[in-house]
Amino acid sequence: MHEMSVTMSLMDLVLDEAAKAGASKIVGVNIVLGEMTGIIDHYVQANFELLSQNTPAEGAALTFKNIPRQARCRGCAHVFRPTDLAWSCPRCQSLEIEITGGNELYVESIEVE
């Protein structure tokens, strides 16, 4: 829902990193995106195309590594992927769970020329 503000932060970050490296053009951005964030990669892509016009990042290819949400059961330590419909442990049915993955939202690397 808030992809525009996330993409604005993304733009600032990659332009800053490219400038620090003395690069004149950004050709690729590798992003790690967790399912828990609710951020839709498709919208980030569309916003990025718009915001990057006339900047060194224009035309850069965004690559998303999508990380599914992951939980660990506090009862039996089973690690599983909660679905929209079921958050209880599929092994012991406990509701006592800890979210262990899917909150990621970071730039892993950029490719520059």
Partner: protein
């Protein structure tokens, strides 16, 4: 050429949030980031808390709304220092908006600062504002199935306030089932049942707020 970055995309927001946190704790202000759906009773909970604590603490409010200043006016009429942030369509507050608001508040005369986020159970969860505690309100007509629908917000809360308990006889809200699901997802959070209309549970909630103020003061004495 590939350059390793490994930086959070919301890094800039986190840095400003950290500045806010430093400023607030330096002034010994306990800030609460209050998040919920629209209409769950954020402003009413603040008003009830003010009534309960007016002799004990000086309370101010940053009101985040997509538009209008209705809530800030309501609070100002009740004698509360309130400042409005209109996000102009934005679905959440971010740290820089709060930073600007802090510049316009009399920080030396505030003990507790409520930051009333934009009514939304999704987007506010991603943005640290520099608060001391995060509180989520859920009102009983919204239903008891919300924690698994909005796990980010519910799993990060320091306290959960179930509001509108006066409506429990009329709505399908199973408090026991709710508590089981919520506490399964979030072991640390305190859970309060309140009614902004009858005042039920406000005392216990206000005690938790005061305890956090004392804790912050002890950490920053």
């Amino acid at each position: 050429m590939e350059i390793k970055v490994l930086k959070d995309i919301l890094n800039a927001n986190s840095q400003i949030a950290e500045q806010n946190r430093k400023l607030l704790t330096g002034k010994r202000i306990m800030a609460i980031n209050l998040m919920s759906s629209p209409g769950s009773g954020k402003t009413t909970l603040i008003m009830r808390t003010v009534e309960k604590l007016e002799d004990k603490a000086r309370i101010a409010v940053i009101e985040g709304d997509v538009s209008s200043s209705i809530d800030a006016e309501k609070l100002s009429q009740a004698g509360v220092t309130a400042i409005q942030i209109n996000t102009g369509g934005g679905c959440h507050l971010d740290a820089s908006m709060v930073n600007s608001a802090l510049a316009n508040l009399p920080l030396d005369d505030i003990d507790i600062l409520f930051i009333e986020n934009v009514g939304n159970l999704i987007c506010p969860g991603g943005f640290d504002l520099g608060e001391y505690v995060r509180v989520v309100i859920l009102s009983t007509p919204e239903g008891d199935d919300k924690p698994h629908k909005y796990p980010l917000l519910f799993s990060q809360a320091h306290a959960l306030v179930v509001n509108k308990t006066d409506l429990l006889p009329h709505v399908a809200f199973d408090m026991e089932a709710f508590a089981r699901v919520f506490q399964g997802l979030n072991q640390q959070a305190a859970l309060f049942q309140v009614s902004g209309v009858t005042g039920e549970g406000i005392e216990e909630w206000a005690k938790w707020v005061t305890a956090n103020l004392q804790k912050l003061r002890a950490q920053n004495s």
